[in-house]
Amino acid sequence: MVKEYKTIKTQVALPYEIAYGATWTRFFEGFKERKIYGTKCPQCARILVPARAFCPRCFVDTEDWVEVSQEGSLVSWNYVNYRYFGMPTEPPYVGGLIRLDGTDVGFLHLIGGFGLSDLEEVKKNVKSGMKVRAVWSDERQGNIMDIRYFEPIK
């Protein structure tokens, strides 16, 4: 017989105040105006989104700001049917990796604008390579969820 030993229930809830820095502040301020900004690397010429203070490959400052398209193509997606701590919305939901038109990296966000309860329906609406467009919240706080999701362009 397996003996049950005592356990202790405990929690670690720590407050943080985390700095965005100048670049991400400007990037998310843009969200309030329904604009998505990237920065262009002066060396490799890639347009990076979210905007960066420096190019991760060339390690040079990226100070050239560009407003990028709010439309793009879906590179990859998932259908999350499990509740994870800290997630942006109740499951089920669809996560997407989006290549915004004119940019050179993938952008993570949600895919929505259609029924999510049935996977087979979702598979009819979501295809890799399809065109998507940002759908904004009416009330914008200057954070990543100011974009509610990206919806398929019919």
């Binding site: 965005y20 998932n78 499990y82 993938g106 993570l108």
Partner: protein, 388 residues
């Protein structure tokens, strides 16, 4: 490569839900196992390296402080190495560097996790910053599902074929776990059950994903002189490689996964391996997700890009196949994360020393061990051989 280094012994705890022991007791159980295997004592150890996935998995941040006694680190140099899922492999690399550099002769490496004490998927969301990536990580399955979808589309593979091959992998690993005395999940399953299991993150279903395990792996590494003095079969480190991608998931190519390809290339170059599928006898690939495992076969040169599902279905990577992968049942059946990468090294060492027991690949002489981690960011490889 510096001085020659050998794995001279390995120890594992019984992995699973281990609420019967406190975390330090579990760690000690693993450490005792490697001392029992080698006949060495704490006095023989020059230094200790340990690690966990992120320490917050169990809510105690400074684990090498908490485990000072359990890893017998008092009075010795002690290091902690932490690289998310690849932690166990990074611990092995740390031990290797320590001895290869000539700074130590005998190092105890300990990887540990007690996932059932916390909320593992919540812990995983804390590996990313809260502005942008954290909300979209969706635990580990979200990221790795997206990664395998990129791979599937890149090579025009059909959902059906990939699903069929992933199920084959799940079935064979779950069967193999019965031959591994330390494995956590031991269930007989069928292809039908696997393809109809509950969806976690499409296309990953319950039987395509690793469990939450509590467990510890301890490995002792030694210099050539010390290893030869022990007068036993040892596993020689033939090559190691480690690479990381950029931080943002969307910045790197995840289908032809640069960090995995380059980590393997480095290890192969050191080991003199030209054709890995032919030259390797066995591989312990870090495989928490069946779909991702196939992609890794391609990154490691076991299959051409896009070819892995066909080879999987032909049995190339099954126990009797050309290159058996994860005869231990792999991470899919046992995943105490901070230990999992080191378990791959321990299993590779058991194979090339002929101590694999019921899951021994007959005559194995050259083995690959691998681990990956981060938001699909890090990859580490170690090649072990029966001859120096």
């Amino acid at each position: 490569m510096g001085r020659a280094v050998a794995v001279v012994g390995v120890g594992q705890t019984r992995h699973g839900r281990r609420m019967d022991v406190s975390y330090p007791e579990l760690v000690r159980e693993g450490v005792m196992a490697v001392f029992e295997d080698t006949g060495l004592t704490p006095d023989d150890i020059d230094g200790v390296v340990s690690g966990t996935m992120p320490s917050m998995m169990e809510g105690v941040a400074l684990t090498h402080f908490y485990f000072a006694d359990a890893i017998q680190a008092v009075g010795k140099p002690v290091l902690k190495t932490e690289t998310c899922g690849s932690t166990g492999m990074s611990i092995a690399h740390t031990a290797y560097y320590w001895i290869a550099s000539g700074m130590a002769d005998v190092i105890l490496a300990v990887g540990h996790e007690k996932m059932n004490e916390g909320d593992s998927q919540a812990t995983m969301t804390t590996v990313a910053e809260p502005f942008y990536q954290r909300p979209f990580i969706s635990g580990a399955p979200g990221v790795f599902s997206m990664q395998s979808a990129i791979w599937k589309d890149r090579f025009g593979l059909s959902d059906e074929k990939v699903r069929e091959a992933a199920a084959y992998i799940s079935k064979t690993h779950h069967d193999s776990a019965f031959d591994n005395p330390y494995a956590h999940i031991k269930i007989r399953t069928t292809i039908e059950q696997i393809v109809n299991a509950r969806i976690i993150t499409y296309p990953v279903r319950l039987l395509d994903v690793c469990p939450n395990s509590d467990g510890v792996c301890a490995v002792i590494f030694a210099s050539e002189e010390k290893a030869r003095k022990m007068g036993r079969k040892v596993a020689w480190v033939k090559g190691i490689g480690y690479r990381g991608d950029e931080y943002f998931f969307g910045d790197s190519d995840k289908a032809e996964w640069v960090s995995a390809i380059e980590a393997a290339k480095q290890a192969y170059a050191q080991a003199g391996i030209k054709n890995p599928r032919k030259e390797l006898d066995v591989a312990e690939v870090y495989n928490p997700f069946t779909f991702q495992e196939m992609m890794l076969y391609e990154c490691f040169g076991f299959a051409a890009p896009g070819e892995a599902p066909d080879l999987v279905l032909k049995g190339t990577f099954a126990r009797q196949g050309e290159l058996p992968c994860d005869p231990s049942g792999g991470v899919l059946c046992t995943n105490p994360i901070g230990a999992s990468g080191l378990i791959r090294v321990a299993e590779a060492a058991l194979q090339v020393t002929g101590k694999g027991g019921a899951h021994q690949v007959p005559g194995a002489r050259l083995a690959l061990a691998h681990a990956m981690g981060g938001v699909a960011q890090f990859n580490g490889v170690m090649i072990l051989g029966s001859e120096l």
